[in-house]
């Protein structure tokens, strides 16, 4: 997929070395630390997180901006809605 070049991340969390559910917890902490409207990206490479992160984003009510596959990891992007 093509990464939208106009998206500027307010926070990027590199959780590529993480094991499920580590990347998800890092994303949650990252989002909590930001203001409403902030765009947060988390980089993860484990298959569990690839399921957990989109699910959490959907349940959380924040705006899911998509998942972008890069070389050997995926970038999940979310905008804090509340």
């Amino acid at each position: 997929m093509i990464v939208p070049i106009e998206v500027t991340y307010d926070k990027e969390i590199d959780a590529r070395d993480g094991l499920c559910p580590g990347p998800l917890l890092e994303l949650i902490r990252g989002i909590r630390s930001m203001s409403v409207g902030a765009i947060v990206a988390v980089l993860a490479s484990d298959p569990g997180s690839a399921k957990d992160i989109p699910l959490w984003i959907e349940r959380s009510g924040h705006e899911y901006l998509g998942a972008y596959d890069e070389r050997d990891y995926t970038r999940f992007v979310v905008r804090k809605s509340h």
Binding site: D17, L19, P21, L25, D52, W56
Partner: protein, 138 residues
């Protein structure tokens, strides 16, 4: 109101405690409130200095355990205690110890890691667990 999960943690091996910690972390992420009851070897594993003690596995898995530990180290897998601490910072996690086990192991609350919240009785724990959405014995 949040869903609830009650776990009795009776096992003290590294694989079981790592699984417990992962489940608790997943629950915290999904706003499922968790209550743990530590008994016997699960309780014993929470003696202060848990991170410094070597991993433990059931005798039948001793050889596999060594290989597993090597991969955990190579992968920088977090210690189960740190995963539990992480989970506590994200969600509602209460860790209780069974008073009978505590006494039989010759321990007091002060001997345990600070993530342990309080001593309880089994009837009190079961009374709350009966209304939990998820209940498990590990």
């Amino acid at each position: 109101m949040n869903k609830r999960m009650s776990l009795v943690v009776s096992s003290g091996t590294t694989d079981k405690l790592s699984s417990v910690a992962s489940l608790v972390a997943g629950a915290a992420a999904m706003e499922v409130d968790v209550e743990l009851l530590l008994t016997f070897w699960g309780l014993e594993a929470f003696r202060k200095g848990a991170r410094e003690r070597p991993p433990r596995f059931d005798a039948a898995y001793a050889d596999d355990g060594a290989a597993l530990v090597a991969r955990m180290q190579a992968r920088s897998a977090p210690h189960w205690l740190d995963t539990l601490r992480d989970a506590r910072s994200i969600g509602s996690i209460r860790i209780y110890v069974c008073s009978a086990s505590l006494e039989l192991l010759g321990l007091t609350l002060a001997d345990l890691e600070d993530v342990v919240d309080e001593v309880t009785g089994v009837a009190t724990f079961v009374d709350r667990a009966k209304d939990a959405d998820i209940a498990m014995f590990v």
